[in-house]
């Protein structure tokens, strides 16, 4: 039974809506930078980049050369052996230089490739894992050496980038050594998994650290003096943050900790762009859970392939065992060579005992639907697709839930996050490209949709913006924005922060914490009684698959009961 609409509503309400949306901070939605399915009008007149002509010859350009790994087949076997208790290589992790010597090019080949680049006037930085070089020079030097013409363009939103015209020419005797180039094309491409809307079944304007701590049993760790002190967590940031936002968070929450550090890669943005909210969200969630931990924001560009150089730097620095990535893009449309180059870096991180948590995406099982509205076919791709790099077999993919709490702030229930009418939801599904890692086993993992490919997510945390985290941040215009924010990019630092406390517990008890946690989480889920370390989410879904007992495509193994899970992980590592 529908009443007939009043015609006057049509025009009058529109004005009110605009006022509401521009005045965030009191339960309304902060402007989300995430591309969303929106207007037909946008499809009819797609925005196109503006050509600016050749990149100035003296313009500094930084890029990476991804190197082939002659030991790639051996690497695959080794990675499987790492989590096989019957293998002599079980938990036999490798320092970056050991990884490089075993799987990478021999010294002579490394020297030949570097020599070629340096002969062209380029500066080459080598890394011990031998997965790639960082290279710097001028556009003119690059044009001459690689036989391309770099040209500058401007995105419809005013971001300048460069692209090569022509295919880079590699000397014949080096073609078996050089896999691809990362960063010659710096067009912004990667998206955060960041969504905003007003909260409902959590107190006030969104989750605050004390509520998160109570709902997910983090409080017991805090009460035991575990607050992240002495620990380091690496945050992969494809934008930047404002230091005063961290100060504001500290004063509002009464928390404090070390100043957040920046490691800026050469291709990092030189000023805040449109995704500062994502970086702020990541930092504030990590700090709310592990306030005394040292957060290092590794900042790079949003170009395809950008994760590789950042993770390479994290591995080489050796400061953090836990990494959080809230960014990605639909796997099907990610350039294969860039994806392969990044997977090498992720594999080197896995081999070094790092755990990389990655957001599984905010568009349910249909991640390709999320891209910018242009006339391109991918905008209208409604086929199921997983998100990269969450679909990497070397990371832990984190999905999102809708959390309800009790009046006293304790946990009540969770659902796999779905917004069917607006297309939002926890990312999950099957990779098109990567096989299932040997460690992904357990109840529910083998199901009627399984096809031998990587399944995601692995775990979940609060991600539905309707039970989102309250944050305040300075946007690219310098305005302070406040409100509840969600997305799997909230669930990801939530899980990473929880594991930082686990790392501290391990350290306190003298237990080495140098193990990628993906295999451990699956092992514990199989060993522990149901519900003892994970909340097994049984309802909701990912817009295609529904949550179910055991592992499922919406919430993986479930969300953490952090203190019991931390205890179980440390006991596992102590065996």
């Amino acid at each position: 039974m529908i009443r007939t609409r009043s015609a006057v509503v049509v025009s009058l309400v529109l004005v009110g809506a605009l006022l509401t949306l521009s005045a965030c901070g009191c339960g309304c939605a902060p402007p989300s930078p995430t591309a969303v399915p929106s207007a037909h009008a946008a499809l009819a007149s797609p925005a196109v980049p503006t050509g600016l002509g050749p990149t100035p010859a003296d313009q500094p350009v930084a890029f990476s050369v991804s190197l082939r790994l002659p030991g790639a087949a051996d690497l695959e076997t080794y990675l499987a052996n790492l989590s096989d208790p019957g293998s002599p290589e079980y938990h036999a992790y490798l320092r970056p230089e050991q990884f490089g010597v075993r799987f990478g090019l021999p010294d002579a080949e490394i020297d030949r490739v570097a020599g070629w680049l340096e002969a062209g006037g380029l500066a080459v930085t080598r890394f011990p894992q031998r997965t790639s070089f960082a290279v710097a020079g001028t556009a003119g030097q690059i044009d001459r050496l690689l036989g391309v013409k770099l040209v500058d363009r401007l995105t419809p939103t005013g971001v300048r980038y460069h692209q090569p015209q022509g295919t880079p020419i590699i000397p014949t005797d080096l073609t078996t050594d050089v896999a691809t180039f990362i960063g010659l094309d710096s067009e912004p491409a990667l998206q955060p998994s960041f969504s905003g809307i007003s909260g409902t079944d959590v107190p006030g304007n969104g989750l605050l650290p004390d509520v998160v701590a109570k709902a997910y049993e983090i409080q017991a760790l805090h009460d035991a003096g575990l607050n992240g002190e002495g620990q380091t967590v690496a945050l992969v940031s494809l934008d930047t943050f404002t230091d005063s936002d961290v100060d504001l968070f500290d004063s509002r929450t009464g928390l404090s900790g070390p100043a957040v550090q920046r490691v800026r890669l050469p291709d990092a943005l030189d000023k805040p762009a449109g995704q500062t909210g994502e970086v702020a969200l990541d930092i504030q969630i990590l700090r709310g859970i592990a306030p005394k931990a040292q957060i290092i924001s590794y900042e790079g560009s949003t170009a395809f392939g950008s994760f590789g150089p950042i993770v390479r730097q994290v591995v080489a620095d050796g400061l953090a065992k836990i990494v959080s990535i809230s960014w990605g893009l639909c796997e099907k449309y990610y350039p294969a060579d860039k994806r392969a180059a990044e997977e090498q870096e992720f594999a080197a991180a896995f081999a070094a005992g790092l755990t990389i948590f990655v957001a599984s995406g905010d568009y349910g099982a249909y991640d390709c639907r999320a891209l910018e509205l242009t006339s391109g076919p991918r905008d209208r791709d409604l086929g199921a697709s997983a998100r990269w790099p969450a679909s990497s077999p070397s990371v832990v993919a984190v999905g999102g839930t809708y959390l309800s709490v009790r009046e006293d702030g304790s946990y009540l229930s969770e659902y796999g996050w779905e917004d069917p009418l607006s297309g939002g939801g926890t990312g999950g599904g099957l990779s098109h490209f990567y096989g299932q890692p040997a460690w992904q086993q357990g109840a529910g993992v083998t199901n009627s949709d399984s096809n031998g490919k990587r399944q995601l997510p692995d775990v979940a945390g609060p991600g539905d913006p309707a039970s989102g985290f309250f944050i305040e941040y300075t946007d690219q215009n310098g305005d302070l924005v406040a409100g509840p924010v969600g997305g799997t990019s909230a669930a990801t630092p939530f899980f990473a922060g929880s594991m930082v406390l686990t790392q501290q517990l391990a350290q306190r008890e003298g237990i080495a914490f140098a193990t990628p946690l993906g295999p451990v989480l699956y092992q514990l889920a199989a060993e522990q009684p149901g519900g003892s370390v994970f909340h097994d989410v049984l309802s909701g879904g990912n817009l295609l698959e529904q949550a179910a007992p055991g592992w499922d495509y919406a919430t993986g193994l479930g969300s953490p009961r952090v203190a019991p899970l931390a205890r179980a992980i440390v006991d596992f590592l102590a065996r």
Binding site: M1, I2, R5, S38, A39, R369, R406, G424
Partner: protein, 178 residues
Amino acid sequence: MPPEVPISNSPPLIAGQVWTSAALGYSFEYDPDNFDLSSPDDKTAILDLNFADGEIVVHGAQGSVSVSQMIEDELATVDTFMIGRTLDNADIDAVLGGSIGYLRGEARVYSGTLLGSNGTPVAPGGITIVAATDGRITAAVIVIVGNPDSLLGDKAQQYVVRQAADQILKTFNWGRSS
């Protein structure tokens, strides 16, 4: 570490306003700051958005009414205030995984021209209908949007209104039998 926290008996936090169908027992939460609610009968709630040109109707029936029949019944009513109603097959408007209260159902999207109370055409309109059943109740949620392609900020009005409707869908409680 301290012993594990015992399970709480504290009642669920209700952050919004709850509306319950007196006849059928289903309920949902809404934010009274964003919606004006009216209820013409004990099975129906109508929520007018105060920040966008949209209206959300939540309607329940006995479970003996099939999901398909429920949709057809609602469409018959839609046709009293919309002319030229046609299926909206635009991928961008597609509803994938339509559900109410986390129970999967059926969803359809239409476009047409909305009529004013005097029967004259007033604006392009978008209609999204989702229906589902738990066996005891069959429920439908109808989202009506005026000028669906107009932009509110950087988003289409249809998207904004449907996003608001999602908040109703996810708090929908089927009541006694669920």
